[in-house]
């Protein structure tokens, strides 16, 4: 079985600073894969290398063919939804406009998707005319998921969905991610600092250290791994 997404020896840099030193990873269709690591390990940059919002070299293959020099718009049009750091909320626009932007690359009616998304996030319907910037952090994260969902992506890239949220909300967000994966068959590559939760939700994980893959494997094994336990799980 070939992977939906494959990174081969990807390097990335911000000006003179190299952030990724040859990262290779693969994501199979229908899976949730987590990327763990400390601050500055290159988690966010890994996602940026996929959506081509950072200078990168090395191969990124999506469904078997290289992404090449496609810009972020082109990558999005292939069916990769990237929810970036800070959630990519259009704070000045309404909740509903944010959703419509999620479906920007789609032609024709998006009614079925919108109805579907409301079954996961019923509160959105009541607040569709509200400015998205006035939502709470948790609501904005849910809106980001909803926005990505109406895109109907083949692959969802999620950057630290837990950031800045209360623990109960984080659990809720990850429950929804899992539900979208199980019921809708959504493939997810999620970057997360909260290793404990990420290892529960994801089937596989990669641990990054200073721009390199230090460890990888099924979550069950990583959870038991000595250094992961000490560095990321804290027991």
């Amino acid at each position: 079985m070939s992977a939906l997404l494959e990174l081969r020896d990807v390097e990335a840099r911000y000006g003179p600073v190299q952030a990724l030193h040859g990262v290779s990873l693969s994501v199979d269709e229908g899976r949730i894969v987590a990327v763990l690591g400390a601050n500055g390990a290159g988690k966010t940059t890994t996602l940026r290398a996929i959506s081509n919002t950072v200078r990168r070299s090395g191969d990124v293959l999506f469904a078997g063919s290289p992404l090449g020099r496609r810009g972020p718009e082109g990558v999005a049009r292939l069916g990769i939804a990237h929810v970036p750091e800070g959630r990519g909320t259009f704070a000045e626009l309404t909740v509903w406009e944010n959703l419509r932007l999620g479906a920007y690359t789609r032609r024709g009616s998006i009614k079925p998707e919108l109805e579907r998304v409301l079954s996961y996030f019923p509160w959105i319907d009541d607040r569709r005319h509200q400015q998205a910037g006035t939502l709470s952090g948790g609501e904005q994260q849910m809106l980001a998921l909803a926005r990505a969902f109406v895109h109907r992506p083949r692959l969802l890239l999620l950057d630290e969905p837990s950031l800045g949220l209360a623990p109960v909300l984080v659990t809720e967000i990850f429950r929804i991610i899992r539900e979208l994966n199980e019921r809708e068959g959504l493939t997810v590559l999620v970057v997360e600092q909260n290793a404990h939760l990420a290892l529960q939700v994801a089937e596989e994980a990669y641990v990054l250290e200073v721009g390199r893959v230090a460890l990888s494997g099924p979550s069950v094994e990583l959870r038991e791994h000595e250094s992961v336990r000490r560095s990321y799980l804290g027991y």
């Binding site: 988690k43 966010t44 972020p72 999005a76 920007y104 910037g133």
Partner: protein, 336 residues
Amino acid sequence: METVETPQPTLAARGRALRGVLRPVSVVLVGAAVFLAVGSLQSEIFAQQTVAGLAQGAVYGSLALALVLIYRATEVINFAQGELAMATTYVAYQLIAWGLSYWEAFFATLAIAFVLGVAIQLLVIRPVQHKSVIAVVIVTVGLFILIDGLVTWKWGADIKFMPAPFGQTVYHLGGVAIARQDIGTLLVSILSVILLWLLFQFTKVGLGMRAAALRPAAAALVGVRVDRMLAVGWGLAAVLGAVAGLMTEPSQYVLQPTLMQPILLYAFAAAVLGGLESPAGAVVGGLVLGVFLNLVGQYVHAITSELRLPFAFAVLLVVLLIKPAGLFGRRTVRKV
């Protein structure tokens, strides 16, 4: 590499702050409208000057809106906006000289203006856009000189005449004389602003353009072709400018290369008055400026027509001292 998180909660606070700012402004504006209505009922001259001022102000407003559109997307004032408007008015002049009727030429000119705006963005703005704001500003100043030169070279600096689109009819409502031309100018300007608003508010392209201007990076991630949207934005701004130019010409009665230079300054004043980032502010700013200057010109004899422009800027200065972000603007902190 992780970049520093920007705190999000400020957005809600900003929304509240904006509403707080708008209340006193709208009270003042409603007060002004009541003042104008009462004044117009009291005095015929006052009513005449108010209508003429609204017409003039609508022209300032549409050119100001063109400036705001570009400012929001590119973060620069397009100094060539007025000259571009002037050039497209010459295009209309040429089309009429070739035998088109005024309104045929009008719509053809709008289409040409759109193509011209897109072409300018693609050919001269895009290459420098990501370099620096100063580079873009210098390019627009260069465009100003270039367009001015090209028009003078092609059509000459002497005065040209165009047919009056709305005729010379003057209506008499009670004792108030209202030129058909003022009404026409007001309607055409306001209509074009409304059409543009509908486009931005209710179409997919409009949504994409707003997203691209507000958050280019996030817009690209949802698949909006940001570069293309910016080019379309320049095209639409050029169309608005063309409307302003075509509506200015009949009020000046003559066409010459300096047609839009004072108008651009008034439009700039209107845009700053409105807050520079606010489309509604630009239009309201234009109308306020137009009416205010006309009434002052009528009743304050010390302000002669030569002093109109300096006076407009003196007023702008006072307003900015009281409200530095303009009427509809919000204070922003920009890292330098």
